[in-house]
Amino acid sequence: MIEALGRVVATERKPNTPHEFHFWTAISSPVGIGTIVRVDGAQPMDGQIPHIYGIVVEGFSYTDLQSPMHDVLGHDGLPTLAGFASTERAEIRLYTAAVLRQIPEEPLQPVPMGQVFLAEEADVHVALRMDSYLKEGANTGIPVGVYRAGGTDAVIYLDADFLLGPEAAHLNITGVSGLATKTSAVEWLLASLFKHFPEEKGSIAAVCFNVKGPDLCYLDQPGKVEQSDEVLYEKLGVEPRPFQKVEYFAPYTAKGLALNTFRNNEELLDNVTPLTWGLREVLQYAEVLLNKDDIDAKADALIDFITENVVDKEFPPDGILTKNHRVQSFAELDAWFRDILQGLEKKNGESWRTHHVATIRKVRNRLSNISTRCAGLVTDSGAVSDLPFGSFGDKTVYVVDVANLEEDAQDLIFARIVSKLREHLERRDLGVKHLVVFVDELNKYAPGDGPETYVRKMLLDIAERGRYLGLVLFSAQQFRSQVHRRVVGNSGTALFGRMDPDELSTPGYAVLSPATRTKLATLEKGQLMIRHPHFTQPIFVRFPRPAVMQGREGSERYPQSNEISLDAAILRALRPLDPTITLPWVQEITALYTEQEVIRARNATLLARPHDVKAYFSSQFRKIIPAQPAQRPMAGSIRSVPENDPYGF
């Protein structure tokens, strides 16, 4: 039998209500903001003693001092004398708690007087209604952290049905930058999700967009796990180890030699795949890169025409075009444009197939510019290296590193990948049934104000309709108040790390008590406040440091490679496929070819991943017959003319 730690009190000026009550405790009581307590009512209702569960949201302390001046007088104005008083003034610890749950739930009445107890683990389960989804045989609980107060350590579970759908879905996390809380929390939660996601609900994978820094670049590398974290891992039923299946994707740098990622150290390249797209892939999302000024109705019509009738199709000569075109790359598209424009110039024409020459010039200019703006991602050659849409693996993390890319390229990657994921999930052929998409910096990608962008529209679409497809958005940002309301509003679960006081002063946080806001502004690393559909009030939890290598440590241990020579880049790209490949071999094979040809051969080889890498790579080059030294023909002897026959008869 645990001892009561407080008593409910109510006065006319501070009455209890069905949603709030007050209680006092001993000075030394282990109660604080966020502590969950249980009230045992004194009078039975319908033969049942009422139990009320609440969470402390405000605390007050005062003495019997009526005026501060009395204390000054009492110590002759000298604070140092105050410590010598034989008696401490009578002091009270008075707390306000928000009701989490009342049992019985009907009739809903003001909280009665009664004794207050510290909630034990079983009480926490009931208080947060976790008992409804932690049933034997129908357990959909996903551990998110440990609630700690007094001597109570209780695992807090999220309901998978409300985290990944179909009931509700999506998760949003807010916190100040620099504490790594947001990234760490998502890494931890993914680990927990992979471990505890119910088998009967199907497979699950995650796509993480690494939009800044190296934090997500070492998910498969072990990190430091302190003893206190090991205890948490054990309590939460998750093994403290890095992710077992991680695949990285990154475009090349503008030069096309090295991968444009923090994870381009040679020791880590075995699971890094280049991300390169050709003309067809890009044209489908031209809208992402071209703003409204670029695309009017006429330009849009021409782009549609190109997409439908030109790309990947034989386009025969007509009155304007002088030769047959088969456009598969930006280079070939540019040749097609050039041919049309030259033809129009020769004939002094103003339009081609109803498209005015000015529109054609404009579209050519904008599209050709894409390959420059997204160099490294978009290939002139048309080679495509992509995420394994259709064969996503269960419990696999796919990290798309766009941290070092220009904004346009980031937008293009995000828009295309999310669209493809959505298409495949609609067709149920992605390879997994549920997919988590993690996007940081929502302040940038889905701001509450500013122009309507393609990326914001996509995020809104996921937030509003994704859960029906199994597409779940885990999003993060520093300032929740500045993110589009429909994105955060559709997030069933919200996590809060340490918050910026300015952010906390915005109206969105007015529902929190001043004490809760103060606690949020001073949260330690590894602590979160959670809102979840089952919880009627936010709950504070601790979560373990992720068992993966942190970004800073990873970038020190595996420094990013600088731009390297062409030969070294080829060697680095091919060696993971065939360890016998050496630099002299690469130099010998590529010596006679241009840089573009070598890169094209590398890309083709990486895409094909052939059994015989050396043979395949070599076969990508055009044959060059070595020049043979010209042999001097044997000169025939000049027949001498007989002296007596000058005409040669």
């Binding site: 000075i27 019997d64 001092l65 009526q66 005026s67 009395h70 204390d71 007088l73 009492g74 110590h75 002759d76 004398l81 105050a82 010598f84 008083a85 034989s86 008696t87 401490e88 003034r89 009578a90």
Partner: protein, 333 residues
């Protein structure tokens, strides 16, 4: 001692319901008027006392006192009383008296209730049964079962019954409540002197109980000075005491009470105040080395002057521990 007044509480309402069933014609008082304690019957007086520290009374500076001085008191005792006129019957006052007493002990500089003898709260109905024949005929048994009754119309030592004048009967009731409170305080004090381990700071004198008056643990601190135990030049010396000064020790031997040793002590600076400001009289059991004892206990009492007992109007003399007792009793009674 705290004499408090307040509106009708649950207890008085219950008592009233009980009486109304037994006593038809009871006229209920609106708001259950509380009665302030009557002024003592004895007029203010000077009374000579024999000085036992030296030959004549003088001012003595309490040695070695500093703000850092520690108090030797481990407990505080006080009692409260409440007198409420809840009804009249034929003009006769019907009174509820509530008395309480508690010892609060000091643990780690915080005050808490003494667990060995929990605080006591007693309530009684004070009735002039002689002038309430209806109730007298009915007998008080039924009421007594739940509410003890005290007859305020009994004959005094000379065999005379009190006048039927309501004010006389009310005064009798009030004095009876006063006595009940004193008895409860004495009972608590005796319990402490028998079981306690540290000196106790008692609000009021210690001479009513022989065992308390002879205990080395009991220290009585009297705040009221209707009787000043000095005469002549000694009066000027006492009224002229400065902060941190005490008088010589003298013996107080009231009639029908135990003899104790006593002295005056000025707790606060008197400048700009009346002569009795911050002046208390201390009572302790007679012991040897009385000067040392008086100095030591004076230091303890002065150490109890912080924290201030404000907003209580008696804060110049009221120790915080005693005020804590009163607040505690106010909360439970």
């Amino acid at each position: 001692m705290l004499a408090s007044s307040s509106g009708p509480d649950a207890a008085s309402r219950a008592a009233l319901r009980l009486l109304m069933r037994r006593l038809p014609g009871v006229s209920v008082m609106d708001g259950a008027a509380s009665v302030e304690p009557f002024a003592a019957s004895d007029p203010p007086a000077l009374r000579a006392a024999s000085v036992i520290e030296g030959t004549e009374l003088r001012a003595v500076r309490v040695p070695d006192f500093s703000p850092e001085a520690k108090s030797g008191f481990g407990a505080f005792l006080d009692g409260t009383q409440k007198v409420q006129i809840i009804a009249h019957h034929g003009g006769m006052p019907i009174v509820i008296g509530t008395v309480s007493a508690a010892v609060r002990i000091r643990v780690d500089r915080r005050l808490t209730t003494w667990a060995q003898e929990p605080p006591r709260v007693e309530r009684k109905i004070y009735l002039p049964l002689r002038y309430l024949p209806a109730l007298a005929e009915l007998g008080a048994d039924g009421i007594q079962a739940r509410w003890p009754i005290v007859d305020t119309s009994t004959a005094d030592k000379s065999g005379e019954y009190p006048s039927q004048h309501p004010a006389v009967l009310l005064e009798r009731a009030t004095r009876a409540v006063d006595q009940e409170r004193e008895q409860l305080e004495d009972w608590m004090a005796e319990a402490w002197c028998a079981k306690g381990a540290t000196p106790i700071f008692m609000d009021g004198g210690i001479s009513r109980s022989a065992s308390v008056a002879s205990s080395s643990l009991a220290v009585g601190v009297i705040k009221s000075h209707r009787t000043l135990y000095v005469e002549g030049d000694a009066l000027g010396i006492v009224l002229g005491l400065r902060k941190g000064e005490r008088s010589s020790v003298f013996r107080v031997s009231p009639r029908s009470r135990s003899s104790v040793m006593s002295w005056y002590l000025r707790l606060r600076g008197v400048a700009g105040r009346d002569p009795l400001w911050g002046l208390v009289r201390v009572e302790v059991a007679e012991r040897e080395r009385l000067s040392d004892r008086a100095n030591e206990i004076s230091r303890w009492i002065m150490a109890e002057t912080t924290p201030l007992s404000l907003p209580d109007g008696r804060w110049d003399k009221l120790a915080y521990g005693v005020r804590d007792c009163e607040e505690f009793l106010r909360a439970i009674s």
